[in-house]
């Protein structure tokens, strides 16, 4: 299993039965594949609906996800306009939002929407999601492709929102923000604290209950 699927698996274990969840594009969309069997979540899509489901083969008119891709819907889906969609998002009616990150820092700041002079796609719904969701999970590979740290003392890229991140889940570790502090709560099998320190610029506390990160059975170390 690759890093992305490992991360998606671990994120899926964060979900509680009944949660309303918004998943960013890319890695986060893998999360539903790894939900525990007794956990049912409702997916919110910022283009205006609650009840996003897998495509199931057949494309239906005007049924697309927030990435513009054809999708399915579950029984009991509801559609609404963009104003209502963000009333739901900003108003705390979304339990969990899962997004990728370019940088996260030890203050809980997230940067994921632009690299000045290079890539300026825009924030889309991300600023509202990170501001309004009850739980903000950043799901990302621990380091850049070049091996640089993404979990920093202070973000250098323009922020998506200030001090709103609840947890960071990477292929190496799980961090949570507890009382405003970045706390390491889990490390992946075979990953040492030194490995994490080497790839993390941010200062963090190691939880007294820090344990091994849950991974899919097939990659558990023997």
């Amino acid at each position: 299993m690759d890093a992305k699927n490992l991360i998606a698996f671990r994120v899926a274990q964060e979900m509680k039965d009944g949660d309303v969840v918004n998943l960013g594009i890319g890695l986060p969309t893998l999360v539903p594949d790894y939900l525990p069997e007794d956990v049912h979540i409702t997916l919110q899509s910022e283009n205006g609906f609650l009840g996003l489901g897998p495509l199931n083969g057949k494309t239906l008119p005007n049924l697309v996800n927030a990435g513009g891709k054809p999708c399915g819907m579950v029984p009991g889906t509801a559609f609404f306009d963009s104003a209502m969609s963000f009333c739901i998002i900003r108003g705390g009616h979304v339990d969990v939002t899962v997004l990728g990150g370019l940088q996260v820092d030890q203050e809980g700041n997230l940067a994921n929407w632009m690299v000045p002079g290079k890539m300026i796609p825009g924030m889309g719904g991300a600023m509202d999601l990170v501001t309004g969701a009850k739980n903000v999970i950043v799901a990302m590979e621990h380091a850049t492709k070049e091996g640089g740290a993404k979990i920093l003392k202070r973000c250098t890229l323009p922020l998506t929102a200030a001090k709103k991140v609840s947890a960071i889940i990477t292929e190496l570790a799980v961090f949570r923000f507890i009382d405003g502090k970045l706390v390491l709560t889990e490390t992946a099998p075979g990953v040492t604290l030194d490995d994490i320190r080497a790839r993390t610029e941010a200062e963090f506390v190691v939880s007294p209950e820090c344990c091994e990160m849950e991974t899919p059975r097939e990659v558990q170390p023997v």
């Binding site: 309303v20 049912h40 919110q44 609650l50 889906t77 559609f79 009333c87 739901i88 900003r90």
Partner: protein, 221 residues
Amino acid sequence: MSQTSKQISYAALRPRLRDGMSILFGGFLGVGTPEGIVGEILDSGVRDLTIIGNDTGTPEVGIGVLVANKRVKKVISSHIGTNAETGRQMIAGELDVELVPQGTLAERIRCGGSGLGGVLTPTGVGTIVEEGKTKLNFDGIDYLVERPLRADIAILKAHQADDKGNLVYQRAARNFNPIMALAADFVVAEVDEIVPAGAIDPDLVMTPGVLVNALILAEEN
């Protein structure tokens, strides 16, 4: 969302009710007010309530029975003229009444349910409504900053629901119900009919089920 129906009985609402709580109630002169839930609140004996909604109905209709039975400490409403008891208690100093322009009331509730810190409205500028409020001027126009309203519980009336709590309202009974569904810690709807999830066309849902915590089937349809 849990996969089981959200249906509960009137009696199951009791543990949610307590003295001093705030209640958002749907309805316009009683149309769109859940009369059965109002009856349950009356029977529960709770008092010192703060009730928030368009008007106080009449002493016999809508939320008005709670006023008539002296269960209410404070009313936040746009109109109390149809319930003489509201005015009488207010003038006697027994009841605190905050009168809010109807459009402002709608926006304040919507803000309370959608994470907004308020809206800027020209309504009320130059009237006693502006007293004590922040005023901003943009492009030569004065606006009042009107702040959010929320409540402990919202009691709604809908025509139809599905198991997941998706709601469909009928005609003029919609009024304040959809915005109130956003703005309370616990949202309960009294409905004429409950159908299985999937039976309502997703385009026709007026309140998404994730906003609704519980459904009560109205005793008389």
